[in-house]
Symmetry: C2
Subunit: 410 residues, 2 copies
C-alpha cells in the first residue's frame, strides 16, 4: 500500500465536469488500495474574479483581507471535489489550510510554510477516506488566514507529502511532463522520464511552466519524490528525483531558454576594488533583478563589465548605468534588448568534459555569434542575438542527441 499526494491545478478543476473527472482518477487510486491525499487549486478564473472585486474597492487592498478573500477560491474546490467523490461512493473529507494546521509565517500573500500537523489527515486516511486539502493557503500562529503566493498549491502538496512521508507527490497539470526543450521551438523535443531536482531548478525557464521552483526546492530539501503528469492524458509523466548512477550516462537533460532578458555593458571602467558594487549597487537599489554577470579584464588597467536584466527593466537600468558611467569616468555604457539566453542543463556535465566545447562548436557552425558565456556546475548558458533562438536550440538538440534521450510521445 502506497501513500500518494496528488495536486490538481486550476485548469484541471476548471469546470464541474473536470472536477468529476478528477474524482474518477482519485477514486481509482483508492480502489487499487493506496492511500491518497488530494490538493487542489481554485477553479481557473475564480482567483481573477475575486481579485477584480477587491481592486474595485481598493487598488492596493489590505493584504490580510486579500488573503481572507482569495482563500475562498480553493475552499469552493475542496467542497465540490469531495461532493463529487461522495457521489461515486468514495468516502472523502475536505479541509481548508487552517483546518489541517498548515502553519505559516504571517507574510500575507507570500507566506512560507512552517509546519503541518498531520494527525487529522492520518486518521482520515486510516479510516479509508480520501483527504482533500485546499492548496495555496494556511494560517499564522494567531489563526489569521494566509496564502502562499503564486504556485502555492504545488508547495502545499509537497509540504503535505513531506509531513506524511508520502511515497510520491504527483503534480497534475496541462502538460504531460518535462521536455528536453520547448516543443514549440523544437518539434523533436521529447519528454524526459526522469530529471534531477538540480536540473529542474536550472531549467527554470522551461520548468516554471510546469512546476513552481519553490515547490521543487522544498521537495529537494525534504527528499519528496515528485512527478509531473497530465490531467488530461494517460502517461507516466516525468519523475523529479535524486541523482542516481543511471543518470550519469546522459550528459545533457535539456535545453532551456529565456526570451525575456536584455544585456547591458559598461566599457573602460577603472579596474579597482569596489567597482562591481559601484556598478550594480544602483541597479539593485532600484529593485531590478540581475541574472548573468560577466567581467573581463581589458587593457590600460580598465575593465569591461556586462550583465543581464529582465527586458521590462531595460530602459531604467540603462539610464542608471549611464549615470554610473559618468560618475566612474567610464568610456561607454550601452545595451541590447534583442538578445536571448540559451542554456544546456545536465548533471552529467560534472563528469564529462567537452560539453561547452561541443556547444560552442555547434553554434559556430551555424554562424551564431556568442555575446556572453556563463557556467555553473550543471549548466552552460550563452547569450545570442534573439533571431538565432530557434536555430540555436534545434542545432543543440540535435548535437546532443536529445531526441534519443527523451521518451517518444504516445
Amino acid at each position: 500500500m502506497a501513500l500518494i499526494v496528488q495536486k490538481y491545478g486550476g485548469t484541471s478543476v476548471g469546470t464541474v465536469e473536470r472536477i468529476q473527472a478528477v474524482a474518477e482518477k482519485v477514486a481509482q487510486v483508492r480502489q487499487r488500495g493506496d492511500q491518497i491525499v488530494v490538493v487542489v487549486s481554485a477553479m481557473s478564473g475564480e482567483t481573477n474574479r475575486l481579485i477584480a472585486l477587491a481592486r474595485a474597492i481598493d487598488e492596493r487592498p489590505d493584504p490580510r483581507e486579500m488573503d481572507v478573500l482569495i482563500s475562498t477560491g480553493e475552499q469552493v474546490t475542496i467542497a465540490l471535489l469531495s461532493m463529487a467523490l461522495h457521489k461515486i461512493d468514495c468516502p472523502a473529507k475536505s479541509y481548508t489550510g487552517g483546518q489541517v494546521d498548515i502553519l505559516t509565517d504571517n507574510a500575507f500573500s507570500k507566506a512560507r510554510i512552517r509546519g503541518i500537523d498531520d494527525v487529522r489527515v492520518r486518521s482520515d486516511l486510516e479510516a479509508g477516506r480520501v483527504v482533500v486539502v485546499a492548496g495555496f493557503q494556511g494560517v499564522d500562529e494567531h489563526g489569521n488566514i494566509t496564502t502562499l503566493g503564486r504556485g502555492g498549491s504545488d508547495t502545499t502538496a509537497v509540504a503535505l507529502a513531506a509531513a506524511l512521508k508520502a511515497d510520491e507527490c504527483q503534480i497534475f497539470t496541462d502538460v504531460d511532463g518535462v521536455y528536453t526543450t520547448d516543443p514549440r521551438v523544437e518539434p523533436k523535443a521529447r519528454r524526459l522520464e526522469r530529471i534531477t531536482f538540480e536540473e529542474m531548478l536550472e531549467m527554470a525557464s522551461l520548468g516554471s511552466k510546469v512546476l513552481q521552483i519553490r515547490a521543487v526546492e522544498f521537495a529537494g530539501k525534504y527528499n519528496v519524490p515528485l512527478r509531473v503528469l497530465s490531467s488530461f492524458e494517460e502517461g507516466e509523466g516525468t519523475l523529479i528525483t535524486f541523482e542516481d548512477e543511471g543518470m550519469e550516462e546522459a550528459k545533457i537533460s535539456g535545453i532551456a531558454f529565456n526570451r525575456d532578458e536584455a544585456k547591458l555593458t559598461i566599457r573602460g571602467v577603472p579596474d579597482q576594488p569596489g567597482v562591481a558594487y559601484s556598478i550594480l549597487g544602483p541597479i539593485a537599489g532600484a529593485n531590478i533583478e540581475i541574472d548573468m554577470i560577466v567581467q573581463n579584464v581589458s587593457e590600460d588597467n580598465t575593465t569591461d563589465f556586462t550583465f543581464t536584466v529582465h527586458r521590462n527593466d531595460f530602459t531604467k537600468a540603462l539610464e542608471l548605468l549611464q549615470d554610473t558611467a559618468t560618475v566612474l569616468g567610464a568610456r561607454e555604457a550601452s545595451g541590447d534588448d534583442s538578445i536571448v539566453k540559451i542554456s544546456l542543463v545536465g548533471v552529467g556535465m560534472r563528469s564529462h568534459a567537452g560539453i561547452a566545447a561541443t556547444m560552442f562548436e555547434t553554434l559556430a557552425k551555424e554562424g551564431i555569434n556568442i555575446g556572453m558565456i556563463s557556467t555553473s556546475e550543471i549548466k552552460v548558458s550563452v547569450v545570442v542575438d534573439e533571431k538565432y533562438l530557434e536555430l540555436g536550440v534545434r542545432a543543440l538538440h540535435n548535437a546532443f542527441n536529445l531526441e534519443q534521450n527523451g521518451v517518444a510521445n504516445p
Copy 2:
C-alpha cells in the same frame, strides 16, 4: 460609549458600491465614539451560484461539504467590507465564524449556536478596530465548518450581541421597520416604533420578511434589544423590546396574515380518548406541519375536528385524512385550500376585554364569514375565504385605529 452590533443582509452588500456604502455607515458609528461589530451575509446571488455548482455535481450533496462550500459566500463579504473600511481609513479586521469560535452543534446546514468566545473580538474593539464577522456560519467541536440555515446571519448578530452584552443589535434590511400590517394590502399601514418580542413572534407571517424568528427568540432569551432598520433610507426603524408600561395602552400592534394555509375537516368522529392522536398522528408522521387545531363537540357522541396545514401539503394531508376517516368510521373528511388566516396581535390584549368581539363584529359588518377561530394570550386568529383577505385586513386596520398607532412614513 455604546457597543453596537450591526447586521447587513445580502441585498445590502449585493454590489461593491453597496459594500462601500455600508463601510461609510459603519465608519460613522465608530467616528462618533461607539464600538461596533458588523455581521454580514453573502452578496445576494452568491449563495445561489454556489448551490447551483453543488447541484450540478450531486442533487443531494454531502451536508458537511455543502457547508464548506456555502460558507465561502460570507467570507468573501467580510474581506471586501474590511478592505472598504481600510480604504476610508477606518481600522477593521475580518473573522470567519470559526476564527471567532462561534461554536455550534454538528447539524450541518441547520446548526445551532452553543457558544461564542468573545476574547478576540473584545481585544480588537478595545484597540479601536471595527470587527467584521461572517454571519450564518460556525464550527463544531471538531473544527468542521457548519452553517446555521436560513436567516442564520441574524442569529449570528444576536448571539454576538448577547455574548458581548451589546447595547443594541441593529438588523439592516430592505424594509425600514415592522409595520402594522403589509403595506401592499393596506396602504395606510404604518411603521411601529416599538414592538415586543412576543408580538414579533406572533407576527411571524409579517415578521419573517423582516427578521428570522430564531433570531427573535434568541434575542428575547438573552435580553438583547433588537432594532430593524433600512440599509437604504435614514430612519429609526422598529425597536423590538421587552414589554413596558407604555405599551399597555395600545391594544393591538398589528395585523398578520397568511395566504399559505389550507384547512381540513373530519366530521362525525366517535368522541373518545385518543381520537386526536389517531387523526393527527398520520399527518405528523408524513412530516406535515400543523398550524391551527379546533375541535368541537357535536351531537350523538361524535365530534368534528378541523386543522390547517401548509397549502403545499394539502393534497397529501387530505389523502391521509380520508384513510383515517375510513379506519375511525367517521362520517366525512373534506378540505378547502382557498382560505387565509388573519391574526390580530398585541400584548395589550391581555388586559383589555372585547378585542375578539370587536374583531368578529367588524368582519360581520363586511359580510365576511369566519371559518375557524383560535386564540392565544396575545393573538386572535380567524380563518376566512381567501377572497376576503384584503377587505378583512383593511376593515380591521381601520377598526383598531392602527393608522394612528404607527409612525407616519417620512
